[in-house]
């Protein structure tokens, strides 16, 4: 009844092309942002930050990166874990070299480094398509992790082979390590993710986004109408890897604080992020947030219900989680390849007509 667009006529192309052309949508988004920025920081605690909000934000950002590549440009990658590792190690080395530099700049540079690596592994995409490319990205996955594990320079020749984040202050506020408050970590991550999500939304609805989608939907036709496949694909790899790299840097520096490459960035990470975009919705910015929330919350719910409620051991809950993820993936691919984002849209369309059935 209250969700209506009638009467909201667009008198300019600017208004028609706005991100949320319907006023109620705009207010809803402002409301969520206000909640996230102004209310949540006062109630956040260690558990909420580490178990839910930080992984939610970091995985949403990584998924955003993968969605640019897979959902918008149609190139499948199974190397997300490794590209997150590139971002993480880049931020670690950069902070080591330039401890004074603002962490936002470090993050951006980590993204740029990852973008460069991503473009190298994206080069085969010019000659190969579909799952051939997936295999090529597996090369990145296994090779890069091996490099971070074997080459001492990357972990400062530390005997454990792990990297541990250095204490970093952002305008005088500690944002890394055990001394940082959950609120500080959360707000910093939230800000970065929001800025990058907004930029991604802008890119995908402009010229470059259309080029990516054209390549995705029909690459030959795209080339024949003047889109350079080389440029479009490599730009998708670059932007995608930039996002994944920043996500990796946040994952290491703020969320975990210390990582060991083989476990933290293994191929399961790649699958995990891929599942977020399938469940959330291929080719949707909103979808990565829904998908990330879903995939972060499901294991917690399962654990609470199965271990806490029914007394199974946690290994059992882990097996059920794997089984359930697989089933959900198949379910979404069959029923709704556009994922939760599309279901959300359908719900809105229903709401628009409510209470009249037609």
């Amino acid at each position: 009844m209250f969700y209506r667009e009638s009467g909201q006529l667009k008198s300019s192309y600017v208004a028609d092309q706005a991100m949320f052309p319907i006023a109620q949508d705009r207010w809803f988004v402002f409301g969520v942002l206000a909640l996230a920025f102004l209310v949540a920081p006062f109630f956040i605690n260690e558990y909420w930050a580490n178990a839910i909000l930080l992984p939610f934000l970091v995985y949403a950002l990584a998924a955003l990166g993968l969605n640019i590549l897979t959902g918008y440009c149609g190139q499948v990658s199974l190397g997300t874990g490794a590209f997150m590792a590139v971002g993480a190690y880049a931020s670690f080395k950069l902070v080591g070299f330039f401890p004074e530099v603002n962490f936002l700049i470090v993050l951006a540079l980590s993204g740029v480094v990852t973008a460069a690596v991503g473009m190298i592994f994206g080069l085969p995409s010019l000659r190969i398509k579909g799952f051939y490319l997936a295999v090529a990205t597996l090369a990145a996955q296994f090779f890069l992790i091996w490099v971070f594990n074997k080459v001492g320079w990357f972990y400062d020749y530390n005997l454990t082979g792990m990297i541990t984040v250095r204490p970093i202050d952002f305008f005088g506020v500690r944002i890394t390590g055990p001394e940082a408050t959950p609120a500080a970590k959360y707000l910093f991550t939230l800000t970065v993710v929001c800025i990058l999500a907004l930029s991604a939304k802008n890119i995908v609805r402009g010229r470059i986004g259309r080029e990516w989608m054209a390549i995705r939907d029909m690459d030959i036709a795209a080339e024949l109408i003047g889109i350079r496949p080389l440029r479009a694909k490599l730009s998708a790899f670059a932007v995608s890897s930039f996002y994944i790299g920043v996500a990796g840097a946040l994952y290491f520096s703020i969320y975990l604080g210390a990582v060991e490459p083989v476990e933290a960035f293994d191929i399961n990470q790649s699958f995990y992020v891929l599942f977020i975009i399938i469940i959330g919705g291929l080719g949707s910015v909103l979808g990565v947030f829904l998908g990330s929330a879903f995939i972060v919350l499901i294991p917690i719910l399962l654990k609470n219900i199965m271990v806490g409620g029914m007394g199974f051991d946690s290994g059992m809950a882990g097996h059920v989680e794997i089984l359930l993820m697989g089933m959900l993936i198949i379910f979404f691919l069959i029923v709704e390849p556009h994922g939760l984002a599309r279901l959300w849209q359908i719900a809105k369309e229903k709401l628009r007509l409510w209470p009249f059935p037609h």
Partner: protein, 262 residues
């Protein structure tokens, strides 16, 4: 048909031969397209018509022969260079971007005219938005011209066949081409849709002076809207001329009736 027709040559195809692993798709084909005309390429199935279009816009590279476009001879050219040079086309089997709306599909046609970098795109406010709006206005003209205002925001995958063909024409027109290649624009259409499409093609030619190269099976349509016709059979040119000349040409009649070659 048109008034602005001149005798200036826009594109010249000279002695083109194309083969795929021993199969000859085109053999020694030559013809020209004059600025402002509607030039039809006809012939039985497998005559090499689509291959000819693919050669013209750089998708196939002929083994022999040259193509001179706007006075510049070339041997090899990538499709996107052809597009940047003002050659746009539609496809025999619709090649729209199925996941995108009508508006976005037609906007992709403007891509060769847009240039703002990734940075400005990400920022959106400022140059990128101005550019977007400027081209949106042009696209809206195309949408008005093709009378598809009501499906502006519909994903093209959901549109009926005839409308998809129209959107595809829109995408090609959005590029403001000097040469428009149409590969069977009326295939699979009913009479009414064919009439609409013929009207759009003629109006495009009339109003914008766009040169058109057309492949079509419907002889009635071809004879009605073409200025000149070239006939291919088994990859060779067997006739060319005005519709009237071609209609009465004996080898053309033979080719269509399936008289054996000797």
């Amino acid at each position: 048909m048109t008034n602005e027709q001149t005798n200036e040559t826009l594109l010249e195809v000279d002695a083109i031969s194309l083969s795929f692993g021993g199969v000859h798709a085109l053999v020694d084909v030559s013809f020209d397209i004059r600025k402002g005309e509607v030039r039809s390429i006809i012939g039985p199935n497998g005559a090499g018509k689509s291959s000819m279009l693919n050669v013209i816009n750089g998708f196939y590279h002929p083994q022999e022969g040259t193509i001179t476009y706007q006075g510049q001879a070339r041997k090899r050219m990538r499709p996107h260079d052809a597009a940047a040079g003002g050659i746009a086309r539609t496809f025999q089997n619709i090649a729209l971007f199925k996941g995108m709306s009508t508006l976005d599909n037609i906007m992709t046609g403007r891509n060769t005219h847009m240039s703002k970098s990734l940075f400005w795109q990400a920022l959106r406010i400022g140059p990128a938005q101005r550019e977007e709006i400027e081209h949106r206005e042009f696209v809206e003209h195309v949408i008005d011209f093709l009378e598809i205002q009501s499906i502006r925001k519909t994903p093209v995958g959901r549109l009926p066949y005839g409308l998809q063909k129209r959107v595809e024409l829109g995408r090609a027109l959005a590029a403001e081409p000097s040469l428009l290649l149409l590969d069977e624009p009326m295939a699979g259409m009913n009479l009414e849709e064919k009439e609409d499409m013929s009207r759009f093609i003629l109006e495009t030619n009339d109003e914008f002076g766009t040169t058109i190269a057309l492949i079509e099976h419907d002889m009635g349509v071809v004879m009605d809207i073409s200025d000149r016709v070239v006939v291919l059979d088994y990859g060779r040119k067997i006739a060319e001329g005005t519709p009237e000349e071609v209609r009465t040409n004996q080898s053309v009649i033979d080719a269509y009736l399936g008289v054996s070659h000797d």
